[in-house]
Amino acid sequence: MEVSIKNIRKEFDRFAALNDVSLNIASGELIALLGPSGSGKTTLLRLIAGLDFPTAGKIYFGDEDASHRSVQDRNVGFVFQHYALFRHMTVAENIGFGLKVRSGASRPPKSEIRRRVSELLEMVQLSGLEDRYPNQLSGGQRQRVALARAMAIEPRILLLDEPFGALDAKVRKELRRWLREFHDRTGHTTVFVTHDQEEALELADRVVVMSGGKIEQVGSADDVYDRPGSPFVFSFIGESSHLPITLRGGQILFQGQSIGVVSESGEGAGELFFRPEDVQLVDAADALYGKVTACRRLAGTRIAEIDIANEGNAPYHVEIEVPLYEPVALGSDLRFRPTRWKVFPG
């Protein structure tokens, strides 16, 4: 099911949680809504589900305007952050709930419900646990019950709110891979909310980066990491450092000095962003220049923290990757140039 969101605005007591948000989700896509808390990602998910209604704008399911359809009518599968299982029902009763509450002719007979429940249990690899109560399950198992329950109603779209937020790191990794396989197998249009960029980049076909009630960028993991569209995306995703610079005649000037890096376009003040790994140590006068204040080993790399003096003010702090085989002494001076960078006019 295709979903398109058109110029959505959502206010809570005059506070705009979402401001003019538009997004197209293709059928069968796995989309991550990524952003810090308060960015409006959960609000957007709830609007798609019909748990909240937009102040302005429209939501289309396919060609049908679903903006004012009730949540019961929208037929969406929603998995809540804390699972929201019915604790007085067994696993099987939880999963079958959505079928049992259907009215009249659309309600499948009991035997059919039982068959579907055991099918779903098999799909989420929980066969044999149908008679357990939710409090007898581990967090990861509850999560999968919640997913099976959402899938039971054959939803047009599957929505997950921080699906792995409450799980420990190892289980989270396992479930993440499992969800990707599950999605590839069932081909449901899926939207999930997360604040964990690693999760979003690894799992999603496309990542929607949100901040302050707006969409900052939509793109593949490569897009948002390699070609960030805004200063926010650059600093939110992955590690990065930034320095105030001036563009003049194709040269990037830092504190009035050329740093030996040319920029094709632009003129005037700006902000230079670069990642720790996109830096080269150089032996030239026209380069960035600072003192090593700390050095730490990070998995296969070594990161040096560098302070760049700033005429009486607090020094600029940047982090760069240095070669493992070339030890840098604390307090020594380093000269370096970014090899890949981006300038945002500031």
Binding site: A49, G50, L51, V71, Q72, N75, V76, G77, F78, F80, Q81, H82, A84, L85, F86, R87, H88, F97, G98, V101, R102, Y133, P134, N135, Q136, A146, R149, A150, A152, I153
Partner: protein, 286 residues
Amino acid sequence: MADTTAVSGQWRLKQPSIIPGFGMTLGFSLAYLSLIILIPIAGLIWRSASLGWSGFFSVLADTRTQDALFISFGTAFVAALINAIFGVIVAWILVRYEFPGRRLIDAMVDLPFALPTAVAGIALATLYAPKGWIGSLFMPFDLRIAFTPLGIIVALVFIGLPFVVRTVQPVMEEIDREVEEAAATLGANRFQTITRVLLPGLMPAILTGFALAFARGVGEYGSVIFIAGNIPYVSEIAPLLIVIRLEEFNYAGATAIATIMLLISFTMLLVINLIQAWSRRRYGHG
């Protein structure tokens, strides 16, 4: 090895625990309960034992005793049932909606706790009497409320309401909104969400409220005697019969009725407690 079997074979009162003070608090609780509850009850049973089995059964066989017991437990049961239903609705209103006067209603719920029961009884009797404000409304249907068992139920409903509201309210406040939303996304309408998702979760609390209201209703005296009419075999409650026996200096007879009431009450409360323990274990509340 011999040591461990000896330890595991015997029932240990005190499990090793990092929470201190078990011995002291248990000792205090037992002493306190003995003083306040067990010793008076033992005295009651001892006193009624002076009747002997035959005397005891003759009290029990008296139809006036039987009717009084039936009226006491029957009206208390019906009143507790009514309170269980309407108390949940009142709690729902107080928890779920913001409206002007909510705090006032919240405070009003406790009034039956604070009001002297005799005052309540007189007020209710005046209102529900055949010529009273409310009683007169029912007269065209030939329905008399005051001075009949219906009147007793009215009084007990009044007395028992706060028990249900106050036990259900805090549990209701803790209901996770997500659970209701989950039910809605699965296609359940409001009615189905309430009956299949919310109420079963509230059941242990409702049962507790019901048990408290019921127990209170069985023991209620002050408000009932004003509205009941106290006609033997019709609207005479067991506590009143006890007082009547006492006034006849028939102490053994009075304590015998009291002992029977005690046994029935205890059995019913025990059963309710067992149901609660079962549902708690099942739903993982405790």
